[in-house]
Amino acid sequence: MSTVLEILHIARFGLAGVFLLGGGFFVLAGAIGVLRLPDFYTRLHAAGVTDTMGSTLILLGLMLIAGFTLLSVKLALVGLFLFLTSPTATHAVANAAHKAKLKPLLGTYRQTRKGDNEGGSQ
């Protein structure tokens, strides 16, 4: 029985390492994407997607290291807040840019709905 616990114990740190590095990789990829992509909307896409993925992976990794302590609860709370706010913020940025008639590089700028002069809600 104790060997299973030991294996789990060692595996825990190994798994945490994998999560952390994976998360780090995603965040770095997103950052490079934001820098190199030509147009606002593509950058937004790069930042939004990788942020959420990267943050979940990194926070999971840290929670594995922290184990069942108050610290993990705080990390979970940070994860929850990031999970709630960062997509919302990205949505809000996209909405505002769209309303400010920012033209995407490819494709045409089209109102979301016929006859709605300012572009309506979602």
Partner: protein, 103 residues
Amino acid sequence: MIFATTLMLMGAMTLMLARLLRGPELYDRVLAVNSFGTKTVLFLCVFSFLIGRPDGVDIALLYALMNFIGTIAILKFFRYRALDVALSRMPSRNTRKKAGAKS
């Protein structure tokens, strides 16, 4: 391992900084600031593990909120040129009553 992640996050933050400085469009800058904030939150969590003190996570939690509020303020500022207009109307009591009466 944690140290490697910290370095990666710092690299990502510097890239975001580059986008913030170069960003031709205004909204590129908004995007850069917002994602710089999220990456700082992650950096704070990982860094507080690196130095072995649990307090950095509190600050990360705080800045996750502040970053959201800042971005909403920026967007409202550019979208409506006013901070005090209601972004979305809460259905006031009489509309709810009307809706209630109708359904």
